[in-house]
């Protein structure tokens, strides 16, 4: 089982950051790598079990299923059902936590998956850098640091 963990501090209240990332169908609005997204079967995007079907800027298609979402704990988890990467059993969680001694937000994005050992480092680096840190950098730019 390979793990990826990326975290950062965003200069905004967690509630504001959550408002920006909560929509499971809203990645194109804030993540620069995502071109378009739709929820299959016309389900609401906060219905647990719904599937988002989206394209990266390079045209690759990915399907991911929402497995958990909490407005109380500020996190959501999802599983990858289909995608171009040579991995399986991919499960990821995006989580926000307030930093109480300032109007800041601690953000964590983690994933676990299985893959061929030969591909593991490349996959971990790619997910950490392009998907997770890339998303955090965009949020930090949006919220001014």
């Amino acid at each position: 089982m390979a793990r990826v963990f990326v975290s950062t501090v965003i200069n905004a209240e967690s509630s504001a950051v959550w408002e920006r990332v909560r929509d499971f169908n809203g990645m194109p609005k804030w993540h620069p790598r995502i071109r378009d997204s739709r929820i299959e079967d016309a389900l609401p995007s906060d219905k647990i079990g719904c599937i988002r079907n989206f394209h990266l800027q390079n045209g690759d298609m990915i399907r991911e299923q929402l497995v958990g979402l909490s407005d109380y704990d500020l996190f959501y988890s999802y599983a990858m059902l289909e995608g171009p990467m040579p991995l399986w059993d991919y499960m990821a969680t995006l989580r926000l936590t307030p930093v109480t001694d300032g109007a800041r937000c601690f953000a964590e994005w983690s994933a676990e998956f299985d893959c061929d050992p030969d591909n593991q480092t490349d996959l971990q680096d790619g997910i950490a850098t392009n998907v997770f840190q890339g998303g955090f950098d965009a949020l930090k730019r949006h919220f001014g640091g």
Partner: protein
Amino acid sequence: MVKVVRSTILPAPVEAVWDVLRDFNGHDQWHPAIASSQIERHLPSDKVGCVRKFRLEDGAELREQLLALSDADLAYSYCLLDTPLPLFNYVSHVRLIPVTDVDHTYWQWEGHFDTQSGEREAMIDLVGAGIYDTGFSAIRNTLGLGG
């Protein structure tokens, strides 16, 4: 049941912060409220179940028991056994998480407890500001991190 959660970001790697926080018998070295600390029965301070006896700067004594300690999760939990304060069923959790993109540390300190009616706000302030926030500042000073 009252829940108090405080958190901060320290501009230091988690390893450096954990190195200081991990010692269940070392809080008298950095927390200004604690005059002295000793582990009962000469147990090692990382033995889960060990009891530390604090003497506070005001002379009061309290005893706390280590309930969990994890070097993998950079976390520990403890409970209050004896205290002169109206804090009952007090359990506290300390946890460090790396801020990976700048190699800093997220530090969360939380407590759950019961108290007497009329003491609720005073105990929330004592635990949240007097113990947790004061501890954050003290560790900043100990590690030379400034502000």
